[in-house]
């Protein structure tokens, strides 16, 4: 019974989040930041957008919301006049896939080289599952993959799309631009706030930790643990290896604390009452943050407790 209630509340929250964004889109400014070599970050509303430009055309990771499409395309056109060849969706949430159709329409598509919307198979499954909010056909990925890794070679560099099972959701993808040495992590890594572990859509804290450790394995920092591989998080500023370490440690330490209380047979309410994350709340919870401390602890609790642990990671 409780699952459906939570499920409904989540939907509401999702909707609310989407709606609350609805009205003030016209005030949203797109901020362009050059990350490294031919990769740029566009921050507006919702998830960050990554853009890779070069002589073969443009590749986008995540497209935020439909009303922002004109502004996003305007900024992209300043970076490159080339054709938009690929859109990669890091996962299914509306603040990352919302603009797919609008961007595709604005960018236009050459029939010989059709625009490809790439995402993991589970994203398509989730978006077309009954009960999910209806998405227009054009928003949906048209080139889903089911293997651990999907390789592209675009704009003179290797683009490696890596599936991280059961982390933020069960359809997460990270994009490594090997030549530019930048990783677009999607909502697996959100330096400004607690990770949103979406249990209902297959997320789990074990998968989240494995995904964060995988980022650390992929990233090669330069001198004094800084620079080298740069990371574009789902939300928040451009980061590097050291920022991910702090985030990973937080998730592991909170997991240790919740696991310790589960071993002692504590209920979810007792765990919440213990305020296990009070030393991290001042850093990761701010007025606008989407994941409250309780919600994060609840997701960790659900992932770890054997009975309802739906999103256990297979890897």
């Amino acid at each position: 019974m409780t699952r459906t209630i939570l499920y409904a509340s989540l939907l509401v929250v999702c909707a609310v989040r989407a709606d609350s964004q609805q009205q003030n889109f016209d005030k949203v400014q797109i901020h362009v930041e050059h990350v490294q070599h031919n990769v740029y970050m566009l921050a507006g509303a919702g998830g960050n957008t990554t853009v890779q430009v070069g002589d073969e055309g443009v590749l986008m990771v995540d497209t935020q919301f439909a009303p922002l499409a004109p502004k996003l395309m305007a900024e992209i056109r300043k970076l490159s006049p080339g054709p938009l060849r690929y859109i990669i969706n890091t996962h299914m949430h509306p603040d990352h896939v919302g603009g797919n159709a609008a961007i595709a329409k604005l960018a236009g598509s050459d029939p010989a080289l059709p625009l490809r919307i790439i995402a993991h198979e589970n994203v398509l499954n989730r978006l077309t599952a009954p009960g999910e909010p209806r998405f227009p056909e054009a928003d949906l990925p048209n080139d889903e993959y089911a293997t651990p890794v999907k390789n592209l070679h675009f704009n003179g560099e290797a683009v490696v799309i890596i599936h991280e099972p059961n982390a933020h959701t069960d359809g997460d993808s990270m994009v490594l631009f090997r030549g530019s040495d930048v990783i677009s992590t999607g909502d697996i890594f959100t330096p400004g706030g607690y990770p949103f572990i979406d249990i209902e859509h297959g997320g789990s804290v074990q998968g989240e930790i494995l995904a964060l450790n995988h980022i650390l394995e992929l990233a090669v920092p330069a001198k004094t643990q800084e620079g080298g591989t740069y990371l574009i998080p789902g939300h928040g500023r451009i980061c590097d290896d050291a920022d991910v370490v702090e985030f990973r440690d937080m998730v592991v330490i909170v997991r240790d604390r919740v696991r310790d209380m589960i071993k002692k047979g504590k209920t979810l309410d007792e765990v919440k009452a213990a305020k296990l994350t009070r030393d991290y709340d001042t850093e990761y919870v701010s007025s606008g943050s989407f994941v409250s401390a309780d919600r994060f602890v609840e997701a960790v609790y659900k992932s770890l407790s054997p009975s309802t642990g739906s999103g256990r990671s297979s890897r």
Partner: protein
């Protein structure tokens, strides 16, 4: 007055050139010869009219069509010599030097897999032997009367017929293009010392078709078949059941379908009717284009600050940039001065790091001298002592290399202290950040030896593999130092896992082998397929209880020997087969 004489001279000068024909235009293919072989594709076992050797025949018999679904082969295009045999609508255009209005190159675009070739007309030499080989090779052309004669070298391994008949990467292609009004004829002659007994000649025709438009041909790899890592589909010798399908269906004598030079001559019809004593004409000699003579050290730029130096023992990778120089391997000791001279031409900065891919002397010979001249990026912790910054370059290698080199090895004494690695790592990998790019040193277990390292320059997209991958012969499995066939195969598959090709399975990640030319993913894929097939054959023989001698006499590698085998030297084919045989334990994972 002077002006006119000049004008006349130029007119005279250019006159003979006008005699050229112009081949540019859109040409529609005509499949009026071998249409069933060219469009639907050849039947399995159909080697009719091919002057192939026994080795080629075994290669073709072992070929399993489903190999084409391996990720490495899904987007493989037809190489230059077969482009005209597949769907071959053609577009030719000229590239003209606008100063001299001379034709400097002809470009061709073939419909299947949108393959493009450049035929250089400006008389430039062919690149040296260890330049990378490509699908379309390196072509130079010149007019002989109304015929354009084109010589093509540096071709990747391909096929004489796409039912598995191999064409080696040591082949040379000679083409003659002739235009008769609206008809274009191509005579293509393949000289392949490895798999052909005679030059193999074929002709193809096109008709001018100005309204033709050739579509783009994007191809992207997608792994759709669930199969265990490292599996390569092939038939064990003698177990290919499809070979007699072709003769039965078309009522042909089985022997004829096995090909061979005799089947090319009219006299063969008599042979087919049973008369024995027929003398066939002598085989004419195979032509090999004169590659630029390569003696001593040769350095070529791979990409960014990465150079490959060959000719000093094992290949040496030089990474030169703002922070200094990093070397992968240091070659033979007696070549060190030449190596240092070449490095000096590339960068004036000191050598900071030396990475040893493994312990053999042809890769670590120069450690002592080069390291001593180098200057590592080091220094006292916080004591501000700067003098130990000049203790020489840092030598990085796997722990096992240090263990083996610092201990006496049979009768050989331990290596001198200066040769030893100064910074040994253990575990699966070690990372460096040098010259503005991440460098990942990967340790494959028990491949060539138990101390192998492969170096992956991530942003330059180049991998130095050491002797795990060598283009000049079978891999030297050093069992005494921990090498093994299974480890070797895992290492090759690990390389293929890191490699991402640009288009049509070519370029993208470049690979510097321990010995031989600069390669890319397709070369490694061929090498991995060869080794997997040989391992399967020997494993199968071992399971059937054959002893090592019986296996060696059965000669399971005879179809690869002409290209990779050796009958003398320190690593012969028999020693290779023995190493594989011993490396496969009783259980011997397939």
């Amino acid at each position: 007055m002077t002006v006119s004489r000049f004008a006349i001279a130029t007119v005279l000068l250019s006159f003979p050139l006008l005699g050229q024909y112009d081949l540019s235009g859109e040409w529609g293919a005509r499949y009026h010869e071998d249409q069933s072989e060219r469009i639907p594709g050849p039947e399995l076992g159909d080697y009719l009219g091919l002057p192939i050797t026994d080795a080629a025949r075994l290669r073709a018999d072992s070929w399993d069509a489903s190999i084409a679904t391996l990720p490495e082969w899904q987007c493989r295009p037809h190489p230059a010599d077969y482009g005209s045999r597949g769907p071959a609508d053609l577009r030719i255009w000229k590239e003209v030097d606008n100063q001299t209005q001379q034709v400097i190159a002809y470009h061709t675009h073939v419909q299947w897999q949108a393959q493009e070739r450049t035929i250089w007309m400006d008389g430039r030499p062919h690149p040296p032997e260890d330049a990378p080989h490509t699908w379309q090779g390196f072509s130079t052309g010149k007019w002989e009367g109304n015929q354009l004669t084109v010589i093509t070298t540096h071709l990747k391994e391909g096929y004489a017929r796409r039912n598995g008949v191999p064409r080696s990467d040591r082949a040379t292609l000679v083409e003659h293009w002739v235009r008769h009004g609206d008809f274009l004829t191509l005579v293509s002659i393949i000289h392949d010392p490895v798999y052909l007994t005679d030059p193999f000649i074929r002709t193809t025709n096109w008709v001018l078709s100005p309204y033709q438009s050739i579509d783009p041909y994007p191809c992207e790899v997608a792994e759709e078949v669930e199969r265990p890592e490292g599996k390569v589909p092939h038939h064990l010798p003698g177990e290919n059941k499809f070979l007699n399908e072709f003769p039965d269906k078309y009522h042909l004598p089985a022997a004829a379908t096995r090909g061979g030079r005799e089947t090319m001559y009219p006299e063969y019809r008599l042979a087919m009717r049973g008369s024995a004593s027929i003398v066939f004409p002598e085989a004419s000699p195979q032509y090999t284009a004169p590659a630029e003579p390569q003696h001593g050290i040769h350095v070529q730029r791979v990409r960014g600050g990465i150079y490959m130096l060959s000719g000093a023992g094992g290949n040496i990778t030089i990474d030169a940039g703002s922070e200094g120089v990093l070397l992968v391997d240091t070659g033979l000791p007696d070549k060190t001065d030449q190596v240092l001279a070449e490095i000096g031409k590339i960068s004036d900065k000191p050598v900071r790091y030396i990475i040893d891919t493994h312990l053999h002397a042809d890769h670590t010979g120069g450690n002592e001298k080069i390291a001593k001249l180098g200057q590592t990026i080091a220094g006292g912790d916080v004591t501000n002592l700067t003098d130990d910054a000049r203790e020489g370059a840092k030598v990085i290698a796997h722990q096992n290399v240090l263990n083996r080199m610092s201990a006496p090895d049979g009768d050989k004494p331990a290596s001198p202290f200066g040769m030893l690695p100064t910074d040994a790592y253990f575990g699966s990998h070690k990372d460096l950040f040098f010259n503005d790019e991440g460098i990942r040193i990967v340790h494959p277990k028990n491949a060539h030896t138990d101390g192998d390292s492969m170096v992956f320059f991530r942003r330059s997209d180049v991998i130095s593999t050491g002797d795990v991958f060598t283009m000049n012969g079978y891999p030297f499995l050093d069992l005494a130092h921990g090498g093994s066939i299974q480890g070797e195969l895992d290492a090759l598959n690990q390389i293929l896992g890191m490699v991402i090709t640009a288009h049509n399975e070519e370029a993208g990640t470049y690979i510097i082998p321990g010995h031989g030319r600069l390669c890319d993913a397709a070369d490694v894929a061929y090498y991995r397929d060869m080794l997997t097939i040989i391992r399967d054959r020997i494993l199968d023989m071992k399971k059937r209880g054959m002893t090592l001698d019986q296996v060696q006499t059965a000669n399971p590698t005879r179809d690869y020997d002409p290209r990779w085998g050796a009958t003398s030297g320190f690593w012969t084919t028999r020693m290779f087969v023995a190493a594989v045989y011993q490396g496969l334990g009783e259980k011997g994972r397939p």
